[in-house]
Subunit: 105 residues, 2 copies
DNA sequence: ATTACATATAAATAATTATTCATATGTAAA
DNA sequence: TTTACATATGAATAATTATTTATATGTAAT
């Protein structure tokens, strides 16, 4: 098992589908089928994304009958997600005010 | 100018060189030449990375004589960087304890 | 045991992103 | 006003990552 670096966390969060999955998992644990349904994406694609999240230590899973249930590996990820969302708003604000207007088309 | 989403922030942070640059800028403002020197990478490569950071609203720049000085666009990015670093440690810890050991080679 | 359901995997392809190389631009000094 | 220095850009290539397709595996119900 590799060391989990902040770089790896960012990489995992930098894909739209993986990010969506993580946000869903931050609300409740979910079976693969539910994730497939709620995202509307293909099952093998979701399975790949879940594997990446698992292998990079951001998600954990266990089997329950026919289903496999996924969860966030750590509560601290919820914190990451919300802090970055806030920062996104702040940066956006700063950018609109200071210099980005100059480059508008 | 595009809306800055949390996804874009993650994308910018998910490249080793860009992340290194952002961490450097979180300590002090720097001229391009200094960044090139301190990272040891090629000048055009750094210039490309800086452009990405600028265009995504994470960095700002101004000219000072022959030099161009870069800075973080927002203090809140420092917060993001440190929160994720912490989360990395936490996740790592959780993972080592709970389930990743099972998959060790 | 056979079938159906849920999930995982591997290999192939497609798409995106990073890096290099050559050169252009903009500023200041001689 | 030529030269040097600092940075930026564009086009070409290389490398990485995402997606699809086909199929395998594992569990449970009949």
């Amino acid at each position: 098992m590799e060391k989990i670096t902040d770089l790896n966390i960012y990489k995992m969060l930098s894909d739209e589908i993986r990010l969506k999955i993580l946000k869903m998992l931050s609300l409740k644990n979910m079976a693969v089928g539910e994730i497939v349904e709620e995202t509307g994406m293909d099952q093998p694609l979701i399975s790949h994304k879940l594997r990446e999240l698992r292998e990079n230590g951001l998600a954990a899973s266990y089997r329950s009958g026919k289903n496999v249930i996924y969860s966030l590996s750590s509560e601290s990820l919820k914190n990451v997600i919300s802090v970055v969302e806030e920062a996104g708003n702040t940066v956006d604000y700063v950018c609109n005010c200071i210099e980005c207007k100059e480059h508008d088309e």
